[in-house]
Symmetry: none
Subunit: 202 residues, 4 copies
DNA sequence: CATGAATGAGGATTCATTCAT
DNA sequence: AATGAATGAATCCTCATTCAT
């Protein structure tokens, strides 16, 4: 019983060490050797828990996956039941932000590995697809309920997920919007909802 | 003179070989050894032209850089001189697309290396920043001239560049929109200009 | 008492697992790790019974050693007491064969480890030496009793043991003589006794 | 041109180093690391010439293969053309011995790897098969020409090759017959030809 | 007695880089 | 300018062995 605990602890040490090395050198620049060194465990111990750096990355991403999925699922379900569409949207977006902030290191890892090397891509596409699917479902419901114009919701899901990703990068990677990120969310929603063109235009 | 020509030719062989290996294994998975092997040149020859894989990547990106910059500069300069704002925008966007298509392999390389490992990031941020700056300048002029609402043009530049990147990825990486990419561009502009919300909403 | 039984059972599990791995990968290719894995016991348990793969090999060979020795001893003792030398020889050889067949896996192990790597050689020479000594004793008695020509019985013991080993290999390793092995034994005796040359030769 | 020479020299260094390590530790006990160490070359250099210890073994065995094959082929061709069968046989056997003596180290290697681990076996069976086939052809011709009795020549080829191998082992591995090996060859032929049983036996 | 997590030495393999030709 | 053999550092990975439970 105690032994299992110890094993779990060692595994956690590896994950934490990997997270640090990933942050420093990036995923591609991370060797098992370095993770081992940072973890202060023996070389062989690594292989008792993982078979490759890839598997460690997976384990780290999995941690965030569940949280994200829960929030996105909630968004879909509730999104349509209320009158104030935009307000609702803002609330949900902000709670999603808090998930990201709780897993800040992992999200950075996700942002920097997404869409990169072919080998890694497979491990991160689920995130993109989950985001896009969630957004699209919301949009489809918006269209069906008459709140939104009829337009290509798939294209829109790409625009929104791409925009979100970029803003997220600016926030977590480059430290922009550190304080007023929530205000920016409302502004984003405004832009997507009503556009940037002045109405009295030809 | 003959020798210079020969040297240039060898350099080109390396670049072409590297492009192929990048496409197959991704940037991080590419070793000098493999580029050399694909180029059918001698190991030592590589070092007469480049000092690292990183430099090869740079050389490849540089090729596209000039073209992109020219187009973006054109966009800025001309964007305001005409009445039909949206039409103008579409035209410019489409010509930018053709640049991307001409350098398809390199753009894919750019898409998969952007925002990734710290070491590589430095070599690709210029692209993002150039795009965002260009977009922002256009938006600022639009605001100044009264065509666009007053809003955070920096935020908008992030949204647009992120959205564009995602659509570009879907197009070049995953083969979506292979035929109707131009139609989609107009749709994107429509969304950003007028939003997706139906006007008569409470 | 219960515990001793249990211990013996565990030891047997290890031996059986090792036998299988030996058959698959050969002695040199066998690691403790693999034996442990096949035995489904814990890594540490192995060391309670053996200290190395070498010791396991020894234990396996020992099993066959006693049986072989008994038969060979019998051969020596009885070989001279009867008139019909060749018939007697055949009978003894065939009973030896049945010993080999009962320990088929172990004999294969013996055949493939004999005369190989220096470290292993020491564990298998006893077999060769036992065989050769037994044969030689028989031959010496044959010479002494006037049944056999006077010749180098040591050399002959090498020829016979070598020949036997090869036929054994063909039988157990390569599946030849699966059915008529006993007939072949008589043929072998005939050859060694009377040679292959036609008598009326110059 | 000079460079090729150098490469060949390095290859030879590796082969010589390997030969020494094989002799000391046996094939199975030989690691690339040790061969490299003994050769005083860099670790990476090994891989420019061979991919595994197995390949080195092959290269060493190949050297002897050609010589052996030539002698054995000669034996077959000439064996029947002369009257004095036994004398002829002795002469050929002795010249084969000189081949073995010239490649003493490699023959020892061959003797200790033959019939051993499955992986290695494939690389040495050719030797056994070549020997047995050569012997059998000779025997078949002897039978056909009426010099030899009608018997199972395949079985006999096993007996002779096995016997030879054992005598060879005694000679090269254990240092027996260092001086009178040639006399022993004649004795062996005598035994195989005429048997050991005294003629006036029932 | 049995377990299995942890260890770290050692061997395999790759790779960027140098240098004599 | 081009070649490619050689280098050795760095990484990957396995294995025998220990030890607390």
């Amino acid at each position: 019983m105690r032994q299992e605990k110890r094993k779990e602890l060692t595994r956690e040490k590896i994950l934490q060490a990997a997270k640090q090395v990933f942050a420093q050198k990036g995923y591609a620049g991370t060797s098992i050797a370095e993770v081992v060194k940072k973890s202060k465990l023996a070389r062989g111990t690594f292989y008792l828990h993982f078979q490759s750096v890839e598997q460690v990355l997976n384990a780290l991403l999995q941690e965030i996956f569940i949280d994200i999925q829960r929030y996105l699922t909630d968004m879909q379900v509730e999104a349509l039941d209320h009158k104030n569409f935009k307000l609702q949207l803002g609330t949900l977006a902000k709670s999603l932000l808090s998930v990201f902030q709780n897993h800040k290191d992992t999200v950075i890892l996700l942002l920097t590995t997404m869409n990169s090397e072919p080998k890694i891509r497979t491990q991160t596409v689920w995130f993109q697809e989950l985001m896009q699917a969630s957004i699209r479902v919301m949009l489809d419901r918006g269209v069906a309920s008459g709140r939104l114009k009829k337009f290509d919701t798939e294209l829109m899901s790409f625009l929104v997920s791409g925009g979100l990703r970029e803003v997220l990068s600016q926030w977590l990677l480059y430290g922009r919007y550190n304080k007023d990120i929530e205000a920016k969310v409302d502004e984003m929603i405004g832009i997507y909802m009503n556009g940037v063109e002045l109405a009295d235009q030809d």
